[in-house]
Structure formats: structure tokens, C-alpha cells
């Protein structure tokens, strides 16, 4: 049964593992998904709502779980652990231990009688120990696989008298105490580590002694409708509603043991505070933080909203102690503000925003296999191959790679699926949906934008045997990355790009179209037709392709602030890169250098973080310091957003004597020049409360990343644009590189500002999604499709205007036509049609009206 050579082993059934499995399975690979818990879903399953939409997203999540469970190309092994892996890329031999569930999944009907009768109660780990569960239990009602499990450690059958109560209660005879541990040997072509993270067990703030000091995950469970308190926000000690809650940030992050930022805590603390305020409007919510690191898409806006509209209080301070208040269950927090004034405040409950540690089991396994880990035990990867481990054929995604949130994990999971599929040799048949067209998908991809992202996507597709058309509007490949020198990890970008361009230009399946632009596009997933115009000629070219990937990138802000454009010593970030590579003399002669961060970012007209400026400034500052150790370097910043593993760079920079001065939006630094053109920077030092005057040789401005001309692109491809002008994905959390329209994907900076490693993993993710369309034998359609009775249609075109799928096109007669491949089957058009000319297959009016009659 388990002998499919060349399939893929995915270790970890959290959201990343699930996504990687689905993408692989949908592209025709067989997947073994190994999960140590009794259910798939991982930590995400424990979360209540997700940022920045505050939606529970359970609908999409449970969809993914169910798809994974029922997919013919995925074999899920729960309660399983990987014991050992031998062999090499293309031919690994993995030994798996599967622990007994003692309940037959196929027989269990989930009636719950066993748990009702079970005499033994223990703490419920799924609810972080806040509630109780029986020894035979279902972790949560929607758990997948949806079957009970016996916790052997506590089961009376094993510990004492051989209790058989549950077995007798079970009417389906599903309980089998004789199940034994199984050793399973799997032969696979490649392996994906999606092992995720473990929360840091807090030795902090008397967490173990004070019941109302809780962890962030405990808060998630308390606030969950299916949690221990039924979704009522009460504190554990007396089950009373708290009226003020404090969140303490960076617990187990950015300290001496964890020299990294956990990336997600700022956002989830804001989310929790918003949710808490929603359930109790009178509640005071305070977040104590060091730097507010909200750098993802729409995160800054979320933070601003929390601050200005949700009335959440943000205090910049690291809290040192939490004391019990005698006679009550309340807690006293003593903290110092930036000026060093000490305050004391009493809170009803304190939430510790716990950081992420790489999964302890996975660290052990990876260590045994000889996978290189970094000093914090995350898997070491290069920025250019963000999902490749040090061992060929073994890939990594999700929080085991570096701390990251759900959407980034999902992106990486798809990227890992894409990368690993090149090693998996055997393909299996794809289950075809009931209704397929006769048409085969065109085995080609159109990629718009020839930057790093576009090239990576192109290579991924071409390496899997698909024809690629790479359209670039300028006269060369490479995009803005050509201006970059090094990544935050210090890797050389220039040689990487050179190599990449070489590969692309010499790939027999890649057709590079320079100086070209898309003029018109039409069609649906599997069968697009696009007209491309080559500038400076009237020539156009028609391309047939099955998928489209948009990677047109972004632009940088041409600012007029801080004397830029007036004084030649005021530079933009990439000028600094250029000086670093070409003008060592200039650096040697410079005594003082100032970096100004957030130029044009995080301002009212551009309320988002450009994400790369902090790390790029620090990287360049460090390089300058290395070349000229006597140089004084000042970094003027608003929040130091060295998220994730970039934190290391920040620590290093401080060690090297680089001076960091925080400024506020209403107290921006001022740059002036004297008659000789010498620069003077004036900035208010918040610690001293005084103006500081610096006379630098150079000022580098870290200017914002701004969206390109996405409006045009959006119109051409009928895609949504977000408030900041970047393209908008189908779902922020769970579908980060997809649009609602099938067959079109996007990656890179056209999505939002991001560093090169994240752009590359998005590029791979988009390619993985594209392959799920291209690898189908036939183009599939939904079964629920709307159609128009043209005899009734009066051509008011209301339907065409409101269709969310853009499936309605107007034919030559001025009448609408629904493209079945595009139609989602929502039926909104049928409601809006004034003459009821539209009917929806399987949900037509007559059917529903008959149902009405029959039911009542």
C-alpha cells in the first residue's frame, strides 16, 4: 500500500503542510502527510479569528481540511512521527511510527456516546489546559479526520483495571484496544518540512503562579466560541469579565535567548485587543510594546485603525514586573516610559504575547538528518532559494523556516510544493471532476514582468515542461533588483540576477519578449488568448496560454523631501548601494552618514510600511561601518522593523556603535544645507528631549515603495486593486497569490512591498498554483453554472455589471453571454435579472420553489 516511489513526504499537518500537500496533489503528485496530533490543522485550528480581516476564516480553513482528507492523492497519517530518513534526493526511505488511535476512523460515527460514558477527565490541551476533556475525545467538533481518539497515557483500560466502558458503549464497535504501534516505511522522491513552531513555555512574570496572567494562545481559546468558556471573554481566576487588559509584547522574542523577532505578535495582539473591545465596549485595552512591527499588507492600516478608532492604548515600554494585588485577583504592572518616568497601573488580566520557537521535535529530526540550522534552530535557507534546505530534495516551509504568519506560511508552502515537485518523479492520475469540457489546457504560461519574481516563476514553469512567454516592458530583464547589492543576510544579489537572467535567456522553453506590453486579453483558466504589442513598432503578437502570472513589480517614491534632488549628497537607498560597490574612496573620506527611514511610508497619504527599508538601511550601514570603522552612522527611524531573523542585524548594528534615534511623524528630522552645500540634520532625541544636530557627509533616504501603474493592469485583466494601489488577492490569509478569477496569479511587489526572499517564494507559489491548472488533462468547469435564456433577455446588462467572477461578456449582438469556465455559480445574477432570464444549474428557481413547497 505504501510503495509509491517518487511521491512527496510532507512532515507536519498544520496550515503550511496542508497547503503544500494540496498543491502537490492537485498537480498530480502523491503525498504522504505526517501529523503528530490526532487531527490536521495545527496551531491555526486553535485560533479564533485572524488578522487583518478579523474574520474567522473557518469556512476556508475547514474547506482545505476536508479537501485534504478526501483527496485521492493524499494519504494522511495522524498520530505519526518520522523516526528516520535515509537516502538522497529522488529516492528517500522514510521510517514512520504511527501510534494507535484505538478508534477505527472508518467505523466511528462521532456520536459521542463513548465520551459521555468515559469516567476519566483530564486537562484539555487543545484549550491550553483551561478546560477539561474525557480520555476518549474529539479535539474540537470539526476536527479532521472526524473521529474520536483515546489518550493512552490516561486511559483506565491501560492504567488500571482494564476499563471497557467506552468499548461497551460504542454501538459501531469502533473501539479497538488491541491496535498496536506501526512502523511504516515510505519511499519518496522529496520531503517538505512543514513542522511549524512550538510556543515558548513562559518562565516569565509568574505565569505559573498568577492565574490571570495568560498566554496569547490561552486568550485565543478563551475568546473562541468553541473554547472552554463558550466565547465569553472572562478571566480564569473568577470567570468575571475583565474591564482592563494589558498585552505585553516580545515575550520570548528579542531577548538574550531568542535573538529574533517572532513577526506575528504585534499583529495578533492588536487583533486580540480589537476583539476584546468588540465583546466589551467599555473595556480598556493597553498594549505594551518596544517597536510596533506591522509590516505586512494592510497591517499598518490595521494598527492605525486600532489606535485611532478602536481606542486601543499603545505604550512604548518593556514591562519588567507583574505583581499580584493582594486581596484581589488583579495585577499590578510597573513600567517606565521613554523618559524614564515610572508608572504603576492595575489590570484585571495580563496577556503575554508569546513568541515562536521552531518545533522542538523537528529540530531534533533535522539535526539527526544533518540539515543545517541557524543559531536559533530555524532551518538555514538562502534568500534566493527560500524553501531549500542544505540537503537537496528536502524543503522547508512555514514557521520552521523563520517566524511567519499564516499567509506567508501558505505562500511558502506553495513555493515548497513547486520546488519539491521537480524531485518527485512519479505522477499519479488526477481525479477529474464530474463535468469537464472536451478541451485540454494550453500548456503555456504568460508571465508579465521580467523582474526577479517573473523570472523565477518562469523558470519554475519551464522546468516542469511548460512553454513560458515572459513579457517585459523595458529593454532588459532584472527589474529594480538590478539596483540592489546585497540581501539582509549578506548574499550577493548582482551575481544571482546575472545567473538568473542567463538561465532564463537560455532556456529552450522560455520566450522572452522585451519592450513589450499586453494590449488585450481574453479567455479563461486553461485557455487564454493575449495580444502583445512591441513598443516602437506596430507589430503585435497573439499568444495562447493556459495561465497568467502577473509580476509587474512596483516603483520607488521620487521624493522631494529632505532636499532630495537639490543637494547631491542627499541620496536614495540604491545610490548608497552604488557607492558601496563603486566608490570606496568616497566612503573612506566620509566621517558621518545619516539614514532617514520611513521617507514617504507610513504617512497619511501612504499608510503602509514598505517593509524593506529598515533592513536595507541596516545592511548598508553595516557595510559602511566595515569599510570605514571610524565613520559615525546615525539611523533615524520611527519603529525599527527588523522582523523575524533580521533582528540579528539590528543587534549587530547596535553592537558596532551605529546610533539609532527615534523620531515621530509630527517631529520629522530636518535637513538643511549651508552656502557651501554642507548638510545639517536636526532631529529631536526623544530620550533626551533635546534637539540633536548632526553634520553628515551624506544622507540616505529610505524612500517608500509605491505601486506601479496597476490601474491599467487591473482594467485589462479585470482584477481588483486595494486601497494602496497594489493588486488585491482573493483572500488575505488563505489565498495570497490568487485572484477570485481562476487561472490568473500574481507575485512579488505588485502584491505589496517585500524583500527579495519573500518575492521569490511568492513567485514559486504562483507557479505552483499555475501548475494545478496546467497539469489537468481537461479544463474543468464548475457544476453550478448560470446560463441566460436569450429569448427572455432584454440586454439591460445588469448581470454583466454585478458578476463577481467577470464571467459575463457581451457578445457581438449586444447581448450577454456567461462563460461557464469563469462562472462561480453564486447565482447573484439570477436575482438581479429583471426578467428572470438567468437560471443557475442545480439551483434554478423552479427547483428552489418546489423545495419550498415540499418542505412546508
Amino acid at each position: 500500500m505504501f510503495s509509491k516511489v517518487g511521491s512527496v513526504l510532507v512532515i507536519g499537518g498544520g496550515i503550511a503542510g496542508i497547503q503544500a500537500s494540496l498543491d502537490l496533489a492537485d498537480s498530480g503528485y502523491f503525498v504522504y502527510l505526517i501529523e503528530k496530533a490526532s487531527f490536521i490543522g495545527g496551531k491555526t485550528a486553535q485560533l479564533d479569528k485572524t488578522y487583518p480581516l478579523n474574520d474567522c476564516s473557518f469556512c476556508i480553513r475547514s474547506d482545505k481540511h476536508m479537501e485534504c482528507i478526501s483527496h485521492t492523492n493524499i494519504k494522511i497519517l495522524t498520530l505519526s512521527e518520522v523516526k528516520d530518513i535515509k537516502g538522497s534526493s529522488g529516492d528517500f526511505e522514510a521510517t514512520i511510527i504511527q501510534h494507535p488511535r484505538y478508534v477505527d476512523i472508518d467505523k466511528c460515527t462521532n456520536c459521542g456516546l463513548c465520551a459521555e460514558r468515559c469516567p476519566e477527565e483530564v486537562n484539555d490541551e487543545f484549550n491550553e489546559g483551561l478546560g477539561k476533556r474525557k480520555v476518549i475525545y474529539l479535539e474540537f467538533p470539526e476536527a479532521a479526520p472526524n473521529s474520536y481518539v483515546i489518550d493512552r497515557k490516561n486511559c483506565l483500560h491501560f492504567t488500571e483495571a482494564g476499563c471497557n466502558i467506552c468499548k461497551e458503549a460504542c454501538m459501531e464497535k469502533a473501539i479497538d484496544f488491541d491496535q498496536k504501534e506501526q512502523n511504516i516505511s515510505l519511499n519518496v522522491g522529496s520531503i517538505i518540512f512543514a513542522a511549524g513552531f512550538d510556543s515558548i513555555i513562559p518562565p516569565y512574570y509568574d505565569y505559573d503562579k498568577l492565574p490571570n496572567v495568560i498566554t496569547s494562545m490561552e486568550f485565543e481559546r478563551i475568546h473562541s466560541l468553541n473554547g472552554p468558556y463558550g466565547g465569553h471573554l472572562v478571566r480564569p481566576s473568577d470567570r468575571k469579565e475583565p474591564s482592563n487588559i494589558a498585552w505585553l509584547q516580545c515575550i520570548g522574542s528579542r531577548d538574550i535567548y531568542h535573538n529574533y523577532c517572532s513577526s506575528v505578535c504585534c499583529m495578533y495582539a492588536i487583533k486580540q485587543a480589537i476583539l476584546a473591545r468588540r465583546s466589551n465596549k467599555m473595556l480598556n485595552a493597553t498594549i505594551f510594546f518596544m517597536d510596533m512591527r506591522v509590516c505586512g499588507k494592510d497591517h499598518e492600516r490595521y494598527y492605525n485603525h486600532a489606535k485611532n478608532e478602536d481606542n486601543i492604548r499603545f505604550v512604548r515600554s518593556k514591562v519588567h514586573n507583574v505583581f499580584p494585588v493582594s486581596g484581589t485577583d488583579d495585577l499590578l504592572i510597573r513600567y517606565a516610559d521613554e523618559q524614564g518616568n515610572i508608572y504603576e497601573e492595575i489590570f484585571n488580566m495580563v496577556v503575554l504575547s508569546l513568541g515562536l520557537e521552531p518545533s522542538h521535535d523537528a529540530v531534533r529530526l533535522a539535526g539527526n538528518l544533518g540539515i543545517t540550522l541557524d543559531k536559533n534552530n530555524f532551518v538555514e535557507t538562502s534568500s534566493f532559494t527560500p524553501v531549500n534546505t542544505s540537503i537537496p530534495g528536502i524543503y522547508v516551509c512555514g514557521a520552521f523556516n523563520a517566524p511567519k504568519d499564516i499567509s506567508e506560511s501558505i505562500t511558502e508552502a506553495s513555493a515548497a510544493a513547486c520546488a519539491s515537485s521537480l524531485n518527485a518523479v512519479s505522477k499519479v492520475a488526477l481525479p477529474e471532476p464530474f463535468e469537464v469540457t472536451e478541451q485540454k489546457p494550453v500548456p503555456a504560461g504568460l508571465i508579465i514582468g521580467g523582474g526577479v519574481t517573473g523570472m523565477v516563476s518562469g523558470l519554475c514553469l519551464a522546468d516542469q515542461g511548460y512553454k513560458v512567454y515572459l513579457v517585459e516592458k523595458t529593454n532588459k530583464l532584472g527589474g529594480h533588483a538590478l539596483k540592489l547589492r546585497k540581501t539582509f543576510k549578506g548574499e550577493d544579489v548582482k551575481s544571482y540576477i546575472k545567473e538568473l537572467i542567463d538561465k532564463v535567456e537560455n532556456h529552450p522553453l522560455i520566450d522572452v519578449c522585451l519592450n513589450s506590453e499586453v494590449k488585450h486579453t481574453d479567455g479563461y483558466a486553461g485557455n487564454f488568448s493575449t495580444r502583445i504589442a512591441i513598443s516602437s513598432s506596430t507589430e503585435t503578437k497573439n499568444i495562447k496560454h493556459g495561465v497568467t502570472i502577473i509580476s509587474t513589480g512596483a516603483d520607488f517614491l521620487r521624493t522631494s523631501e529632505y532636499l532630495y534632488g537639490k543637494n547631491s549628497r542627499v541620496l536614495i537607498w540604491f545610490h548608497t548601494d552604488k557607492i558601496l560597490s563603486e566608490e570606496p574612496n568616497t566612503i573612506e573620506k566620509a566621517n558621518t552618514w545619516v539614514f532617514i527611514l520611513c521617507v514617504g511610508s507610513r504617512e497619511p497619504e501612504r499608510p503602509y510600511c514598505s517593509k524593506i527599508c529598515c533592513s536595507s538601511a541596516l545592511r548598508n550601514a553595516m557595510e559602511l561601518k566595515k569599510l570605514n570603522p571610524d565613520m559615525e552612522i546615525y539611523v533615524l527611524y520611527r519603529d525599527m522593523r527588523t522582523y523575524g531573523l533580521i533582528e540579528d542585524l539590528y543587534t549587530e548594528a547596535r553592537d558596532k556603535g551605529i546610533v539609532f534615534i527615534r523620531y515621530k511623524l509630527d517631529g520629522k528630522p530636518e535637513v538643511e544645507e549651508d552656502q557651501d552645500g554642507k548638510l545639517m540634520v536636526r532631529v529631536k532625541d526623544n530620550l533626551l528631549g533635546e534637539d540633536l544636530i548632526i553634520q553628515p557627509d551624506f544622507v540616505t533616504l529610505q524612500t517608500a515603495i509605491v505601486p506601479g501603474n496597476n490601474e491599467n493592469l487591473a482594467k485589462l485583466f479585470k482584477l481588483p486593486v486595494d486601497q494602496d494601489g497594489f493588486l488585491k488577492e482573493a483572500h488575505k490569509k488563505f489565498k495570497p497569490v490568487e485572484f477570485t478569477a481562476k487561472g490568473i496569479y500574481f507575485a512579488g511587489l505588485v502584491h505589496s512591498p517585500k524583500p527579495i526572499d519573500e518575492a521569490i517564494s511568492q513567485a514559486q507559489a504562483a507557479a505552483a498554483k499555475a501548475v494545478t491548472v496546467l497539469s489537468r488533462e481537461y479544463i474543468s468547469t464548475n457544476t453550478e453554472v448560470a446560463s441566460i435564456d436569450l429569448k427572455l433577455c432584454v440586454a439591460c446588462l445588469t448581470c454583466a455589471r454585478i458578476c463577481p467572477a467577470g464571467a459575463l461578456i457581451i457578445n457581438g449582438m449586444g447581448k450577454p453571454y456567461i462563460e461557464p469556465q469563469k462562472c462561480f455559480g453564486c447565482g447573484i445574477c439570477a436575482v438581479e435579472c429583471p426578467v428572470k432570464a438567468i437560471s443557475l444549474e442545480h439551483f434554478n428557481n423552479d427547483l428552489i420553489l418546489t423545495e419550498c413547497e415540499a418542505f412546508l
Binding site: L53, D55, C56, S57, F58, C59, S62, D63, N110, G112, P141, E142, N146, L225, N226, G230, G231, T740, E784, V794, C796, T798, R801, I802, P804, A805, F824, G825, C826, G827, I828, A830, V831, E832, C833, P834, V835, K836, L840, F843, N845, I848, L849, E851, C852, E853, F855, L856
Partner: protein, 256 residues
Amino acid sequence: MTSDKFEPRIMGFLCNWCCYTAADSAGVARYQYPPNIRVIRVMCSGRVDPVFIFEAFSCGADGVFVGGCHLGECHYQLGNYDVMLATALTKKIMTKIGISPERLLLEWASAAEGSRYVQMITEFTNNLKSLGPLGTTDKVDMDVLKVKLSAARHSVEDMKLRTGLGNLTKGFRKEGDYSAQTIEDKIDQKIAKSIDSAIGKQETLLWIQQEGPISLDVLTKKVGQPTADVEKYVSAFSKKGLVTETNGKLSATSNE
């Protein structure tokens, strides 16, 4: 005492992605809740046509529940916003024909919110119990109500009214302000007239068909709209040959 025993019949239209799954979750979690609801699954709450709602009432439902995804979570982006307009329109018509708009409930529940679904259905059922069977507490005679419901059912198939709803949807999508007040105002502004005339027309015809020969006076009273309007409807039907007048009394043409 009889009202205690009254078990309302509820027709539920639940969207495939969220509310239907919530109902499923409620079942899986074995929550107990009143068995009064019969569920029809639709792909999107935006699929719920006012026609369905009136059909349900015509078939004897005491209440109709429409359940979708939370706002912003629609799988089709805006379907649940669209249904807000459709139900607002429906409630308007319900009020006009004398049915309490409380008998129609539009709510959201995500797939994980089984308990929320249970709470909504329990509350709605209790609310309907206190309202009593359709017609009784609405103080409408059952025979009259039948005609009015039938008129309402046909009026929402009226092309002019549906065009109004379509335009309203387009307008709201552009403006993006879906507050209850705005919806109320816009419906009053843009389609209140179409509602009146659509119902008026339908009722006129139905009353003539049912009660004819009938005098204009009696007819006007039954329809409950100004005489001039009713006259207008009658003359339109006369032109189409659906209604004839003999001795000052109106009757329907038999072959229609």
C-alpha cells in the same frame, strides 16, 4: 394557551459556505435547538430572490430565515451585501401587505459559529412563537392575506421593480455605504413607487379575478391604494383585454 403549542414553520435559505456549514457544525457539535427550521441550501445568500421568500410565505411558512457569511467574508465578494438590499425590499413589501417584517430574518454566521447559528434560530423561533401563526397577529384576514401574498409574490417578478433592484445594487456597490438608514432611504427614494404600482397592479387583477364582478369602490378599498391609481391599473388591464366592465362592475376575462 394555544400559542404555547404553536410551532412556527421556518423556511431557511442558507449559503453553502458559511451559514450552511454553521448549521452543519451545530449538528456535529450536537447542540440542541428547535426543530422548526427547514433548510434550503443556496450557493450564496445573494442567490436568495425575493420571489423565494414570498413563495415560502405563500406555502405557509411563519417565518423566513436567510443566512449568509459575515460581511466581508462572502465567497463571491459582495453577495451578502446584495441580499441586504433584496431583504430590505422584501420587508418593505411585507409591511405594505400587512405582514410583520420581523418574520423575515437576515443574519450571518461563519462556519465555526455553530453555537451562534443555534442561538439565532432559537431566538427567531421564540420570536415567531410570540408573533403567532402567519396572519393571526398581523391582524390580516387569512383570505385577504392569501391574495396579498400572491400579489406580492408576483410583484417581485415585475420587471420594473426588478430593474429598480438591479440598479439599486449597482448604485450601492459603487457607493459602498450599506448602513440600514441609507438602504431605507434609497429604497424609499428610488423604488418605493415601483413597489406600490407593482403590488397595486397585481392586487387589482387578483381581486377582480377572485371577487368579480366588483365595483371600483369596493376594489379600491380592497387594494388600499388611491382611486386614481387603481383606475390606472384597471384601464391598463382593460387595454390588454384582461378585465371587462359591465354595469359599472369589473370582472376578469374568463379565458385568461
